[in-house]
């Protein structure tokens, strides 16, 4: 997989298949990006499992917190890594010891570790790096368009409501890609050194 730019179908495939997501490095503070993403995905119907050794045994948004992936007593479909890039490798190594193995590893916006990605891909897992599942869900469902964000998708098909009210959209939407991505990609590349 080319980790500089993912086809929409790849991202949609992952988000449409996984049901249980373990978020490693989630913050219990309600103003942190990890908490936002956790809450958002929970509200979109994913089973969300918080992993944070500092919060073991406590609840985040009603979900029991585990110290490490191996402590989770149920199968995990995707591991979402909310830690700095250098911590991604041991987390992936740990994820690969789970039975059954997760289907996907997701590293958050600004998190990228190519060695960890190679290891996971060699074991047959799908990998996404330097993306936010909340933003990707919002983009592909078109919810993010309500904020004037360039979703870079086009479609002549109706968006699908998710149920649970009218302001929630599902991922079961047919689209083609849309919109110039130059600046977006440039911004992502620029993330460290950038302008």
């Amino acid at each position: 997989m080319n980790h500089d730019s993912y086809p929409d179908s790849y991202i949609r495939g992952i988000l449409n298949t996984v049901k249980t997501i373990a978020m490693v490095g989630i913050s219990p503070k309600d103003n942190r990006p990890s908490y936002f993403a956790f809450k958002y995905l929970l509200e979109r119907g994913y089973r969300m499992i918080p992993v944070n050794p500092g919060q073991t045994g406590k609840d985040i948004l009603g979900q029991k917190v585990y110290a490490k992936l191996a402590d989770i007593p149920e199968p995990v479909d995707m591991v979402d890594i909310f830690r700095a890039s250098q911590f991604a490798l041991p987390i992936v190594q740990e994820a690969l010891t789970l039975t059954p193995k997760p289907q996907a590893i997701w590293m958050q916006l600004t998190v990228r570790n190519d060695e960890a990605a190679r290891l996971a891909e060699a074991a047959g897992l799908k990998v996404v790096m330097n993306r936010c599942p909340k933003i990707e869900y919002g983009r592909l469902s078109s919810e993010i368009s309500w904020m004037g964000v360039n979703s870079r998708t086009l479609t002549s098909k109706k968006a699908q409501l998710m149920g649970k009210g009218v302001q929630r959209m599902s991922l079961n939407r047919t689209t083609m890609s849309g919109g110039a991505t130059d600046a977006t990609d440039r911004a992502q590349r620029d993330e460290e050194g950038g302008h």
């Binding site: 929409d8 509200e43 849309g178």
Partner: protein, 427 residues
């Protein structure tokens, strides 16, 4: 496997729009409502806390306006847009997001006169201090930068004089100074020029002009290029500091490369309040669907008219960057190769009186203070918009007594020329 990137005309019609999920309506509905029902209490809390995407209240966002925002963002190649009530409102909201009292910004002195007024007077009341630079002397931008400078502002094609800024050169200066470059792309529209491709970090528009294109709606737009690192030096606290308005959220780390557009919405538009009416958004969206067709015709007509005008014996000069030999022709070829826009000025040998006679005698051109309409428009700045200035100030502003400004419409060029011919006969 890579995703196909659609062309400009496809985006002009489709970006941001989709059939309405509940009714199947294919054209974008006008969501003429002040407010939106929450799904439940948790949903309301998530929306107010910026934890979910969605609609609350039309001052902060509206689904019709959102289609317009995504449409213009896609056409400009940016990450997100924010629609506001006017081009001037866009400038206020952008600067409010970047500046604190006592800060400075550098601006090209060749701008739309209304922007010069806004910067010189209204913005000074907020303690946002403009320092002027000369687009004909690019180094003057660099000389104007001080430790207090927060941004550089210029127009791609300046109204009315047809001055074209070397955006790439100015953006290099902005990069060296670690400040964002803001480009007002009103006269060019993204059909002719995409400033983000040349290093702009923020693009603003008066949608009132060519984007809406039919002279029926005032509107403005802010486009976030997603290219600026707001957190690197911590000089933009709206983006890089915990916001007390939102229980300590840091917008840049939460929203990444569209954080600027979000900040303009949730801290600027929300608190200052210049929201665009959804009805105007609908009209402007309809206009944008034909932008590529209209803009090309505007430019082609303007070229014919200017080529005719330069040869007229009552015309002293024509300032249009699309003309061979014009001072800005080389820059026009680089930045807007499809055409140099449709707004330009020319000088009458007969001076002030000839200008007054011309605007009085035209029958097809409308004498009014706007540009970018399907209709051809004319104004004699010295007797109207710039009347209150001294003669010296008029000349400095490109509005000397002999100057007439035209905005060439979409009528048959032969009719446009015939009207000028009979009007000049009287001048």
């Amino acid at each position: 496997m890579t995703d196909r990137i659609p062309g400009f005309s496809t985006l002009a019609i489709h970006a941001g729009a989709q059939p309405d999920p509940t009714t199947g309506a294919r054209a974008t509905p006008i969501y003429q409502t002040t407010s939106f029902v929450f799904d439940d209490v948790d949903h309301a809390a998530s929306l107010f806390g910026l934890q979910a995407f969605g609609n609350i209240y039309t001052r902060i966002g509206n689904p019709t306006n959102a289609v317009l925002e995504e449409r213009v963002a896609a056409l400009e190649g940016g990450t997100a847009g924010l629609a506001v009530a006017s081009g001037h409102a866009a400038q206020v909201v952008v600067m409010h997001t970047l500046m604190t009292p006592g800060d400075e910004f550098v601006a090209s002195k060749k701008l739309y006169g209304g922007s010069i007024n806004q910067f010189n007077h209204a913005f000074k009341n907020f303690g946002w201090n403009v320092v002027w630079a000369d687009p004909d002397d690019i180094a003057s931008f660099e000389r104007a930068v001080t430790p207090k400078t927060k941004a550089i502002f210029t127009e791609s094609i300046a109204n009315p004089g047809g001055v074209i800024t070397d955006i790439e050169a100015v953006s290099a200066i902005a990069r060296r100074a670690s400040i964002p470059l803001i480009v007002d792309n009103t006269l060019a529209t993204p059909y002719l020029c995409k400033p983000i491709d040349y290093g702009a970090d923020i693009v603003v528009h008066s949608l009132t002009k060519f984007l809406g294109g039919h002279g029926n709606s005032i509107g403005g737009m802010i486009v976030d290029a997603g290219t600026f690192n707001w957190s690197r030096e911590g000089r933009y606290p709206m983006l890089s500091e915990p916001r007390p308005e939102y229980s300590g959220i840091v917008l840049h780390e939460t929203f990444g490369n569209f954080a600027f557009a979000i900040a303009c919405r949730v801290l600027g538009l929300r608190d200052i309040g210049p929201a665009l009416s959804p009805f105007n958004a609908f009209l402007i969206l309809t206009g944008i669907e034909t932008l590529p067709l209209r803009m090309q015709r505007h430019c082609d007509n303007a070229k014919q008219v200017t080529e005719w005008l330069v040869k007229h014996n009552k015309v002293a000069w024509v300032s249009y960057p699309g003309l061979a030999g014009d001072k800005y022709n080389a820059l026009a070829k680089k930045y807007c190769p499809k055409g140099a826009g449709a707004v330009f000025t020319f000088g009458l040998k007969g001076g002030y009186d000839a200008g007054v006679k011309l605007v009085s005698n035209v029958k097809l051109f409308s004498h009014l203070a706007n540009i970018g309409d399907t209709r051809s428009l004319i104004i004699h700045p010295a007797s109207t918009t710039h009347r209150q200035l001294s003669d010296a100030q008029k000349v400095q502003a490109g509005a000397g007594p002999d100057v007439v400004r035209l905005s060439i419409g979409l009528e048959d060029p032969a009719d446009i020329i015939a009207d000028l011919e009979q009007g000049l006969g009287a001048a």
